[in-house]
Structure formats: C-alpha cells, structure tokens
C-alpha cells in the first residue's frame, strides 16, 4: 500500500466536504477535550495533595492523649492521662526518632498598642522548628535555653505580623498575649494557605512551651510539666508504619497499659490522613475521566457512521479506482487514512480545547490544574486508535466492493 497516496486522497476528500468533516471531528474533539480537562484537574488535585503532605511533614507522627475516636483532636477528655515532659524525653530516646516537639495549643488574643488579633498559640520546644521545617524571614527562632527557661519571647507568623504591625518591623517589639507581655524575636517565612488542617498556616504565635504552660494558657491541675500533644519526627527512610507500631509499643510500656488493655493515646500519621481523604478525590477524578473516555468512544461511533455514509456515497469512485488498478488494500488504506486523519485532527484540536478548558476552570474555580504533555500524547494517541478501530469496518467494506457493481452504483 502507498501510504502517502492514501493520506493525500484522504485529505482531499476531507477538505472537499469541510462542514461534514468538522462535524464528524466534533465528537472526537469534545471527547479528547474533556479527557484532557478532567485529567488536568485530577492531576492538579493530586499535586496539591503532595504539596500539602510535604508541608505537614511527610515523616512526622503525631501523638494525642485519649482513646481512639477516629480523628486527630487536640487535647483529651478529663479522664485521659495527659502527657508530660518525661514522656517527651523517653520517646526521644528511640533510635528512629529525630525530634520530638512537645506542644500545648490554644486560642489567644494578641494586642500591640491599639491593634488586636485573635490567633492560635503554639507552646512548644525547638524540635518543633525541625518537624515543621520553620525558618524566619525577620529576626530569629528561640533557642533551647530560652525554651527550657520559659523566656517571654515569641515567634509570629506573617498574618499576625501584618495584623499587628502593618509594614513596620515587629522584631524587638512587645506584644501582649492574653495580657502577658512577650517580646517578638522573629517572623516566620510565609507558609501560605492550607486546605488541610490549620487553614492559614501563617496565623500563629509560637512561644516556648513552659511560657505557654506557666504564664499564658495555664497548665494542667493534675500533672506538672504538662504536654498537650507530641509531634515526632521519624528518621529519613525509616518505614512509617513500623515507626508507628514501635511508638505505640513504647507508649504502652511508659503508660503501663496491660496487654489487651485499651490504649489511652493515639498515634497519627497526618500524611496518611490527607492521602486517605484525597484518594476519594482521585477516584472521583478517574471516574470523570472515564466518563469523558466514553464520550470519546461515542465520537468514534460517529466517525464510523459518517465513514459508512461516505463509502456508500463514493461507491462509484471506489469502483473507478479499482478499475484503474487500485488493489483492495489501497482502498482500505485510503478510507482508514481518512478516519485516522479525522480523529488525529480532532484529537489535536480537542487537546488544545482541553488545555484551554482546564486553564479556564483553574481561573474560575481557583483550584490547581496540572497539564502534562503525557496526557496530551495519551489523548491524541487514543483518538488515533479510535480512528483506526472505527475506521476499519467501513474501510474494509469499501475494499471488498466488487468493481463492476461499484462502477454501476448510482
């Protein structure tokens, strides 16, 4: 078969009937465009989830007091035995643990001069800066000495800095946190919005844990050196599931829980949590892409339909081509090339439309899209395959025509 000739004849035939060619392509175009858009949106969501996990710390485990209730809630019921600094120190002894951030959190009102701002307070130690990869854009973080001595110092997030100081440098200024004066020693590098737990990640005030416990939030009546929760950094490459099991075993020993007894603490992998939630999103995205793929197949049926009409209409032409020496395979090639050209062109235009639609959706819906060339190649390749598949039957019908009957066809 002469491929070039087949393609040339195909293009001539398509150009000679532009409206029909366009309408036939439309199905494929819409199919490819929707596959592209759906995949772009679904991949964008996946990428956002990855970014969230990275933000939360992919290698952190969080420990809360209280029996398992199926969700990470800070604090615990009155009956739960709280954690103390001694638990933090013991956990830190584990070889696979790189950092243990002891935390007490609460809502506070911060005031500077006339301005006040309601935000969340995090009382913690310097390990928190490690598990959360925190850095300052102005000033500095507090050090271990300040942390253990309960110094009246605070590191604030960008949102808080903007709310209280609007442009002036907060470092060295004194703010009142729930009426307790503390000195701002640093402003954190902005971490942005998170659709995960926390919301605005820059809306935070961080103070040493003892400062929070003793002066601002107040401790726990039943225990000294109270700790609300712990965030444990796990060594790079260490299996998170194993780490989680080992931490649970260790905590049972520390808290003297009898074998078979109910744990009065929960160890969470926040990243798993986000992943579990996002897998629903991913399933939804795949489902949408599948629906779009169905429309692509419907487009293919449309191509087949028009190709069958075209073969019938051009029966005499087929007869003539056979009379002047076209072999069956030449005719097959010509019509297959026509279907292929329709679908390829439809695929190309469709993927351009799909990219446009995804970008528009991203703009209007304010969610991230990820346009990868891989998807475009798959979508265009799929439409080419559909062209070959649905074009084959009409093309074979054309190739099998009897030359005499074809020539006599009116």
């Amino acid at each position: 078969m002469k491929f070039g000739v087949a393609f040339q004849s195909a293009l001539e035939a398509l150009i000679s009937n532009p409206l029909r060619s366009f309408l036939t392509m439309l199905g494929i175009m819409i199919g490819v465009a929707s596959v592209m858009a759906m995949m772009a949106i679904s991949e964008g969501a996946a990428k956002q989830v990855d970014a969230q996990i990275a933000q939360l710390g992919a290698s952190n485990l969080t420990i809360f007091p209280g029996a398992s209730r199926g969700g990470p809630r800070s604090g615990g019921g009155a009956s739960d035995q709280p954690f103390t600094e001694s638990d933090v120190e013991q956990i830190k002894q584990e070889p696979f643990v790189t950092a243990v951030a002891a935390r007490i959190s609460g809502s506070v009102m911060v005031v500077s001069g006339e301005d006040n701002w309601s935000t969340s307070l995090q009382g913690t130690n310097t390990d928190y800066f490690v598990t959360q990869s925190l850095k300052t854009s102005e000033g500095r973080l507090f050090d271990d000495r300040e942390a253990s001595s309960g110094a009246a110092v605070a590191v604030i997030g960008k949102t808080v800095a903007d709310a209280l100081f609007e442009g002036t440098n907060p470092v060295g200024q004194t703010i009142r946190v729930n009426n307790v004066p503390v000195e701002v020693i640093g402003v954190l590098v902005t971490r942005g919005q998170s659709s995960g737990p926390g919301g605005d990640r820059d809306d935070i005030v961080i103070v040493p844990i003892s400062t929070a416990r003793n002066r601002i939030l107040g401790g726990n009546a039943t225990v000294a050196r109270y700790v609300g929760s712990m965030e444990v950094g796990i060594a790079d490459g260490y299996d998170m599931t194993t780490a989680q099991e080992q931490l649970e075993t260790r905590l049972r020993e520390i808290r003297r829980i009898a074998p078979g007894g109910t744990d009065d603490f929960r160890v969470f992998n926040i990243a798993d949590f986000v992943r579990a939630r996002s897998s629903t999103q991913a399933t939804f995205g795949v489902l949408l892409a599948f629906t779009a793929a169905v429309s692509l197949i419907v487009g293919g049926v449309g191509v087949m339909n028009i190709m069958l009409v075209s073969v019938t209409e051009r029966t005499r032409e087929i007869g003539l081509r056979m009379a002047i020496g076209a072999r069956g395979i030449d005719i097959l090639g010509q019509f297959l090339a026509e279907a292929l050209a329709l679908c390829l062109l439809g695929g190309l235009i469709g993927s351009a439309l799909g990219v446009g639609a995804a970008k528009l959706a991203a703009k209007l819906g304010e969610f991230p899209v990820e346009i990868s060339p891989r998807i475009a190649i798959i979508a265009i390749g799929a439409s080419a395959l559909i062209g070959l598949f649905f074009g084959f039957f009409p093309a074979r019908q054309a190739a099998r025509l009897n030359p005499i009957e074809a020539l006599r066809h009116e």
């Binding site: 056979m322 009379a323 002047i324 020496g325 072999r327 395979i329 020539l407």
Partner: protein
Amino acid sequence: MTAEATPLISCRDLSKVYRMGTQDVFALRGVNVDFVEGEMTAIMGPSGSGKSTLMNLIGALDVPTSGELLIKGRPLSKLSRDELADLRNETIGFVFQQFNLLNRATALANVKLPLMYARTPVADPIARARECLEMVGLGTRMDHRPMQLSGGQQQRVAIARALAGRPSLLLADEPTGALDTKTSEEIMDLLTGLSSEGITVVLVTHEPEVAAYATRQIHFRDGQIERDERRAS
C-alpha cells in the same frame, strides 16, 4: 490488419451466467473470439446481448462462469484479485460513458491517478500526466476541475487518464453515449488516432456511425456472436 497477428486477448468458450431468483440467465454463451494488437473493434448489439458483459470480462473487472480468457497469453483465471488489479493498472485503460472523473480533483490529478497505483513507480507522474493531456488536446486546461469542462473535454480527460499507464488495450464502454454528434466525432477521431499508433481499442456502442470508425465490427445477440466483420483498411 491480419488475423495472423498475435492475439492480445483470447476468449475461449467464455460463458457468464447470472442467477436471477431461481432462474439462470446466460449473459454469454460459449464465446470464442480473439483481439489482435493494434486492431480497433466495435462491439454492437441490443441491450442484454452480452456486449457489456464481454467488456467487463476483457477488462479483468469480472470473472467468467466458465471458459478462459487470456491476455498476452496469461490465463486470467490463475490471477488473484490483486494481480487482476495490477493487470488493469499496467495493461488496460478504461473509458466510460459517464467519464467517472473525480470532481474534486483537477484534470491533471485525475490523469495522474492510475500512476499512483502503479506497482513499478513512474519516474515523473506529473510530467507523464501532462504529456497525456497534451496528447488529447487539453494542454491548456490541466488545472480545471471536471465541472469547469464541457462533456467532450471531460471525456478527453478520461481518455488521457486511460492512456497514462501506457496500456496496450483501451476499453471504451459507450464513450460517446453522453456526447452530442460533433463532440462524438472528435472523440472517435482521437480513438482512431490512438489505434493507428498501435493501441488495441475495443469499444462498445449501439450507434452505427460510431461503429463505422472501427476496422472490425462484432455483433452480439443473446450472448453469442451473430456477426464478426472486418473492414479492409
């Protein structure tokens, strides 16, 4: 022309039977006839006499029910569908009553078409197509589409297309059937000229004026040859 010349086509006891419902209809009944090279033959006869059936068989477009057809000594019954296509491409040129041109293609593209299917590629198909169009007197209308040409001109394009593959046999089925008298004469002059250049021409017609151009006339009736006359040239 003499009967001793090598037959280009030999028909040996050719029969063609069509099945119409439960009845067998004989389109050809044991026809024996040879066509020698360079001869111009007119096949005549009333509708249904078998003349078109014979043309289709000679043109390797159809296969006989029984009997054998030899073109240049090759029995067609031994050839596959593809080999028959190649034979049509290389040896036979067709001219139809309805011209059968591709309306979306120019005259030049129409003439070039058979060369696109040639198994042994033609070095310069465009030059060859030009040459053929000039031969039929359409050198100035190569870029016209069929709809921009008169009936006579369209038939000339069709003849040029038939000539493009340099065939030894030109088959014309009612070539003047859709043309007026004057144009018919021009077309017949053209075909006569080609015949005198050595191309074997077989044409089907029921117009005696057209048949008069031929050096040989074969009359068909009921699927059999009624008369076979050669005119002294």
